[in-house]
Symmetry: C2
Subunit: 107 residues, 2 copies
Amino acid sequence: MSADVEHPRTADLQLERVLHALSDPIRLQIVRNLANCESLACGAMDYPVAKSTLSHHLRVLRLSGLTHTDIVGTQRFISLRHDDIENRFPGLLAVIGAVRDPQHSAH
Amino acid sequence: MSADVEHPRTADLQLERVLHALSDPIRLQIVRNLANCESLACGAMDYPVAKSTLSHHLRVLRLSGLTHTDIVGTQRFISLRHDDIENRFPGLLAVIGAVRDPQHSAH
């Protein structure tokens, strides 16, 4: 369930906002790391920033439409909106190195 | 000649900085418009912003490595560093819609 967190609709995604979200090295790394995860718990994220800074980065990513946040109990799980981004901005994820490992694809 | 303006070397271009430069709608439009120009005089640029704001945007673009500024007399000519960007971040210009019109390519 993610009733209390806002997510932009795919049709409302703005390229400028997505590019801004990706213009920070930590946020760019988060997106790259999420490329091969179904979802990742916030608590399992290990970046060299304060917890409040990480929360800010995750909010910027979510509001840009790059990521989806699911709240399960007291945990937040973050996932990359791979298909939505690819649909709206084809090739962007490949350009920034956030591509799914081929072994994750169906054969 | 462009002795008095700073341009990052191709090898020093940073993806985060380029994405930040592109995260503003006016700067994104400038880059798209430059895609089919050899170069464009600043004075010929027509955007709905103050001249000082346009100067700021052009500086951000230049320092990110997206554009090159040539000073000829009292005029500044701006060009897109198409090959440098394509070389460092293949596909990025296509993703943002800054592609050369096919009629500009050699047959």
